[in-house]
Subunit: 394 residues, 2 copies
């Protein structure tokens, strides 16, 4: 169903970008799975396989004999050809018939999500095309793949909202389990037990989903929960997400462990939370189609710096989709490792996290991560935002 | 633990193959995961990351700031460097220091398991190396990776035996569930329920694990279980595997549904089974270090043809490891799609399936899949072989 929708969307994108032909070229996709494949077929494929879409609207899959029936069943392709000994002949025959001026393939230096073609498979395809003089027609499919992943359909947004709802529910359910003396590992295990209870899947690698950080001496983000114990006066934060129909949520919430019953929150913690909340909200207000990610990143970064905090050592936000880190456009600064991602324009249907972070000395890390969708004229929260510190009474 | 073992093995392989330096170069490994990464680090990495091993025995990882601690904890690397803005400087600094004549990287036209480097990442690395005049030192790491994956350690063999034992147990447990009128889907669901009960993971994609085929009118291999009902006089076969510590089993068993209580097995079914069993056993007897896969494939293929059956339209056997289809060397014919795999020499420690197949008209497909390990002078079964048809009494 989603495959049919996405193959149709791809045909429209080829027209929009004026590209004759797009080939997704894969083999043993269980091993070196091109992340684009999930939009094109419902199962893994074994031998060299080509999924071809043309600007004229033709769709063709060429697969090993044993994968033919599964691909036919998807109903997404006009033609499904199969082979036993090798893909070269049927592939070149088809290309000679459609005579494309450009052949877009799945590689990109800038965007890992558009970089599913392996170098070995590139060499094979190049060698094949050389036989018919087409080898110089290869171009990057980055624009096609980015738009396909990023412009979410209503169905995709619906799945993501379901994932967010389950995530927020588990963030609520963990509150009574957060107690002085409990370890990060115990909190993570509790969250995971709720995930299993609800029959959900984690949105990313289980060693760091959830990530749990308590107090001032925590490791950096991405590190797995430790035996460090929750203490009164600590700030605790968690980074957590689940999947619904293979679509992810990715949210962070911050908790404060009160020193004693009814005691207030220290001003430096309260201030840290206010600044983070302001950075999230102002960033969201700054988003709309046509703006570039680095402009939005700067809004949050400037707010933190103007209040005397250090800059966070990562991007303000990333897209979410079938992966917790998805898509090309990024709300990030112009750093080498982010390549051109921060300079992509925001488009309607993109789903981003907003996740600034700051450290409060001797207390811990304050951070919120919300999810927003870019709309016609702005951006809307998909997650009900955290507007208050969650205070854990002893 | 396994990571430390494997990094050590890799150092020895660089010496054996006389290669100065090997770089595994990845980013967002959750998305475009190089299948080699699991041997080099215990968790996914986010930003551009390089895992470098040298012939002199130096080991170095260069990773994004947030992945540093996880990689350090593995204890497998002498140096773990981290960066915030980009990998280029620390990477080039390290290479200028070690001055390698050859830099092996993870690409291969012939072996998907050695082809984890994406084309975009290749272009990035090439561009970096050009700045220091090293761009022509790049070579394929196929030999290193193949040997690393294929020469199984005792620990790896132990894990695979555990997976095999669970698989055979479930093949026993399903026997009472196989009944005339049950559908392929129901049999598959029963097998899956046993997998869940035992807390195991499937060895491959769940839509076709197990694959269940009953009767003469089945789809080809790899196709998912259908609503087709089991009938008396049918041959039924299943392809199934599980994982233990991320290491797979992959086995097939054949069942015959008796026409009536105590009725014998038709001679054409009995003969088909005998021929398959002979093909498996003779193939195993033919295996030893130094022989090439196509020679072994031919043993089984010739036996089938000499008894009047068609050749099976696939390789006789593949390696098994962290994937159900693993490794480079293949017991396969010299077909285009298999590239040079059938011409690799067998080595001690390789684990292969042997899985010939034939069709008995109006009855169904007869096939056995066993797993064997190549030893000093031959090959030994890891799975207790199927020596008799499993007869289901009505």
């Amino acid at each position: 169903m989603l495959v049919k929708e996405k193959v149709k969307q791809a045909k429209d994108l080829l027209k929009e970008f004026n590209i004759d032909c797009w080939i997704t070229f894969v083999r043993e996709s269980q091993i070196n799975g091109d992340p684009t494949l999930a939009y094109l077929v419902t199962a893994d494929v074994t031998w060299h396989s080509a999924f071809i879409i043309t600007r004229k609207g033709d769709t063709c899959a060429i697969v090993g004999k044993y994968d033919q029936k599964t691909v036919e069943d998807s109903g997404a392709y006009d033609d499904v050809f199969s082979f036993v000994e090798g893909i070269k002949s049927p592939l070149l025959d088809y290309l000679k018939k459609i005579k494309p001026e450009q052949i877009a393939i799945n590689y990109s230096e800038d965007s890992e999500i558009c970089d599913g073609l392996t170098h070995g498979m590139y060499l094979t395809l190049y060698r094949f095309l050389k036989e018919i003089g087409y080898e110089n027609r290869l171009i990057s499919a980055e624009r096609i793949i980015s738009a396909l992943r990023e412009r979410k359909s209503d169905t995709e947004i619906k799945y993501m909202k379901e994932a967010i709802e389950s995530t927020l529910q588990i963030f609520d359910e963990v509150i009574p389990a957060i107690k002085v003396g409990k370890t990060e590992k115990e909190i993570a295990a509790f969250m995971k037990s709720k995930v299993r209870e609800k029959g959900l899947e984690l949105a990313w690698e289980e060693t760091v989903c959830p990530a749990v950080f308590t107090g001032p001496a925590t490791a950096a983000a991405h590190y797995m929960p430790t035996d460090r114990k929750i203490e009164a006066g600590h700030v605790l934060n968690m980074d957590f997400g689940v999947k619904s129909h293979d679509y992810c949520s990715d949210l962070q919430r911050t908790f404060y462990i009160a020193e004693q019953k009814g005691a207030g929150v220290p001003e430096e913690v309260q201030k840290g939370f206010r600044v983070i909340r302001e950075a999230v909200e102002k960033s969201r207000q700054g988003m709309k189609p046509g703006r570039e990610g680095h402009e939005i990143d700067k809004i949050a970064r400037d707010i933190l710096v103007s209040h005397g905090y250090e800059e966070f050592p990562h991007a303000l936000g990333h897209q979410v989709g079938r992966y917790s880190h998805d898509g090309t456009a990024l709300l990030g600064p112009a750093w080498e490792k982010y390549a051109r991602k921060p300079f992509q324009k925001l488009e309607k249907g993109m789903v981003f996290t907003i996740e600034p972070r700051l450290t409060v000395a001797e207390r811990g890390v304050v951070t919120i991560e919300e999810m927003v969708v870019v709309t016609e004229n702005g951006a809307e929260y998909l997650s009900k935002p955290q507007e208050k510190l969650i205070i854990i009474q002893p």
